[in-house]
């Protein structure tokens, strides 16, 4: 079994060798390590992607907008992830973003998970038939098994910042509150706390 430390190092060095700068490659190392810890096939997606861009210049967004598209070609998941992460405040402000045509969208997931942590909100990601929920870089849940998934590209990926809301009915809260209050003790008149 390869260790997280080995996965991070090899991903970083391979990305550098494929033409990304050291600073960006450091981000890739962290992200692939994180994907593999969730047992999502980060290394396999990265390997295929780095082979694909051997003779092409990967492109990232020049600005983060509601709708992001390129005139020609697909977005690079690494440059897109880095740009989104740096602009995480903008992501929070926009709340809903779409990305037209992006390569290897699974590689974008750990960047979005880190954004979720930075902004303190859950993020929902959708592409093809896949829906993924990212929660503060703590867990990833999906309607699809991502463990062996390698996805070369997607036509459209959407990102939704989910407002923090209760998942339960107010009546449930009241009921539990009532039960919890049974741990309280009635204060007698003889106590005077100021």
């Amino acid at each position: 079994m390869r260790t997280s430390s080995e996965i991070e190092t090899i991903s970083k060095r391979a990305s550098r060798a494929a033409g990304f700068t050291w600073g960006v490659s450091e981000e890739v190392g962290k992200c692939i390590k994180s994907l593999e810890l969730y047992q999502i096939s980060g290394l396999e997606n990265l390997n295929d992607y780095l082979k694909q861009i051997k003779n092409v210049e990967p492109k990232g967004p020049k600005k983060i907008e509601h709708k992001n598209s390129l005139k020609e070609g697909n977005f690079c998941p690494i440059y897109t992830g880095v740009a989104l992460m740096d602009a995480s405040n903008r992501v929070m402000e926009l709340k809903t973003l779409s990305i037209q045509s992006i390569d290897f969208p699974i590689l974008l997931i750990p960047f979005l998970n880190r954004i979720s942590y930075k902004i303190g909100k859950m993020i929902q990601v959708k592409f093809d038939e896949i829906e993924i929920l990212l929660n503060l870089n703590n867990y990833i849940s999906s309607n699809s098994d991502l463990r062996k998934k390698i996805l070369k590209s997607t036509e459209r990926l959407t990102i939704n910042v989910i407002e923090n809301e209760d998942t339960f009915d107010a009546n449930v809260w009241d009921s539990l509150y009532k039960l919890s209050s049974e741990t309280f003790v009635e204060e007698s008149e003889s106590y005077h706390h100021y």
Binding site: M1, R2, T3, S4, S5, E6, R13, F20, T21, W22, G23, V24, E26, E27, K30, G60, P61, K62, K63, Y79, V82, A83, M85, D86, A87, S88, N89, R90, R114, K118
Partner: protein, 553 residues
């Protein structure tokens, strides 16, 4: 109120100062021995041939958890023995196992541990190492013990160890457990504690091995190595450039080490009334330590000059400062510190700083617990900040770099790279060797100067995120800027690719925090040191005194 500030990082974080650091009460060897004092020790397996080849297992237990050192001693021809990192065979190989190894663990480890980098260990293993015998004394010690005599103490003291390690690996290398799996264990909260544990137990193995071989050679007459001689033997270590990038690549860890030292010094200098006993304790450590300096033998001209300077500094203290010092005066430590900073060399100043910590368990112990770091927590770049804010961080924390002219050949003479042969960091001259296009991101001064130029010509009200969209080539140093803003001791304040760089200064910094003594540079790129020389033997641990390193024979 009398208030002492932390020392200025721009002064302390220069390589000449960092390369003058000495072991102290904060050092990892010493904090490990303090932690280890009451642990139970057992030799579970000792299955060596008459010549000393075979395997052994030692276990230590703190009442809650057990760690085991697994040793494999191999026959090695003299022409196969090499301390260089390109070696593929060693006299002995070691691994620290989490718990007590089963037979199947031992079989697996026997197959892999002697191969070191090309073998594979598992998450059940914590640290990995190998070592070679000191040819000069190993055979001599056995011959003497077998003949019923103790070894020549002069020769033994000159070398200082029976074995010399050439690498100690941890944290996820070659399949070893990742740090996140074990980092919350309270008994290993100090940095490199498991590496320290491995080396200490290896030391015990070296004693047991020589006693065993001598006994097999001459069962009737052989004697055991005397405790006094054994105590005076440590474990040697040859260290190369691998350590240098480590301190650049772990900025918050570096900060936590240096900050602990600076905070200790600040608190000590602030003490208003110094107890007579504390001052006497300092003086006694100081006097005892001086004889260690005389036993510090090296052929390195660079090191000998530093040792000579240190000796002169200490003489100055004995002749000029101590006789005139009123030990009852207020803020005594501050007076001493001000004197040494003004009158001594970097070697002398840092030596005295280490000594000043000796009386103060209550100051040091809480700081030891803060010397680890979670680098990942400080990794993200705050892209929402403005270019003007980033510019001001560069001007405040890196002003020294901005004065360097990186147009000259001398200032960019070197480059750091990873060697293809051994995947280890190396340094080479950019104008003499190929490969500078594969340079590692360790030229921080040059890249910060480049960042500064780009920041100056950018829109100051843009966000860092916007700036980075056009400047990803310097992203690695933008990250460092936001680290140094909060961790001022995280950055070496020197140009690490300058023609005149002395890489062993970077090694010495790290090794001083390990607690190594007797730095012996063999070139400007590697050195030998001694670990645990003078340390209590296992059976002496629970009655040991924390100042053991000042009692070398």
């Amino acid at each position: 109120m009398f208030k002492v500030e932390h020392r200025d990082p721009k002064k302390i974080m220069t390589l000449s100062r960092l390369g003058s650091f000495h072991q102290s009460k904060l050092s990892f060897l010493r904090s490990f021995i303090r932690e280890f004092k009451n642990w139970k020790f057992e030799r579970n397996i000792f299955d060596l041939s008459d010549q000393g080849y075979g395997s052994a297992v030692y276990s230590v237990n703190n009442g809650e958890r057990t760690y085991s050192l697994v040793c494999f001693a191999n026959e090695l021809k003299s022409d196969e023995r090499s301390d260089r990192v390109i070696a593929t065979k060693w006299d002995a190989a070691f691994v620290l196992h989490d718990g007590v190894p089963t037979q199947s663990d031992l079989d697996r480890l026997r197959e892999n541990v002697p191969k070191q980098e090309v073998g594979r260990v598992s998450y059940k293993e914590l640290t990995l190492s190998r070592a070679n015998k000191s040819v000069r004394i190993f055979d001599h010690v056995i011959q003497r013990l077998a003949a019923g005599m103790q070894p020549d103490s002069k020769l033994v003291n000159e070398v200082g160890y029976l074995y010399r390690t050439t690498a100690v690996y941890g944290s996820g290398k070659f399949g070893l457990a990742d740090r996140y799996r074990i980092k919350d264990r309270p008994e290993i909260c100090g940095p490199f504690r498991l590496e320290m544990m491995l080396v200490y137990l290896v030391r015990q193995f070296t004693f047991d091995q020589v006693n065993h071989i001598a006994k097999c050679k001459n069962p009737q007459k052989a004697v055991e190595l005397s405790h006094d001689i054994a105590r005076n033997l440590g474990i040697g270590n040859s260290t190369g450039l691998g350590m240098a990038p480590f301190i650049v690549n772990h900025p918050t860890l570096l900060h936590n080490w240096i900050f602990s030292r600076e905070e200790a010094l600040r608190q000590i200098r602030q003490i208003e009334n110094v107890n007579t006993e504390d001052f006497e304790f300092f003086k006694s450590c100081f006097d005892r330590s001086k004889k260690n300096i005389n036993s510090w033998i090296t052929e390195s001209e660079y090191q000998n000059e530093k040792i000579e300077q240190l000796k002169q500094d200490l003489k100055k203290l004995d002749n000029d400062l101590f006789p005139k010092l009123d030990s009852k005066q207020k803020h005594l430590w501050n007076t001493i510190y001000n004197y040494v900073e003004l009158n001594l060399s970097d070697e002398g100043v840092e030596y005295v700083v280490s000594m000043m910590m000796e009386p103060y368990d209550s100051i040091i112990e809480p700081l030891v617990a803060k010397m680890s770091s979670e680098e990942d927590q400080h990794f993200d770049i705050p892209g929402e900040k403005k270019v003007s804010e980033l510019l001001s961080i560069v001007e405040n924390h890196y002003s020294k770099f901005l004065d360097i002219n990186f147009e000259t050949k001398e200032s960019v003479a070197n480059f750091w790279f990873i060697s293809k042969n051994k995947e280890e960091p190396r340094i080479a001259n950019r104008y003499e060797e190929n490969g500078s296009d594969l340079e590692q991101p360790l030229a921080i001064a040059r890249d910060i100067a480049n960042l500064y130029k780009k920041l100056k010509s950018s829109n100051q009200s843009s966000t860092v995120a916007e700036f980075l969209l056009l400047n990803q080539d310097i992203r690695h140093v933008v990250r460092r800027c936001f680290i140094v803003e909060n961790f001022p001791y995280s950055e070496i304040q020197d140009n690490t690719i300058d023609e005149n760089l002395v890489p062993i200064d970077m090694l010495r910094l790290k090794l001083s925090f390990f607690g190594a003594q007797k730095f012996d540079p063999r070139s400007d790129k590697w050195l030998r040191i001694n670990m645990y020389q003078g340390a209590p033997l296992i059976h002496e641990l629970n009655s040991s005194d924390d100042t053991w390193m000042y009692d070398l024979v």
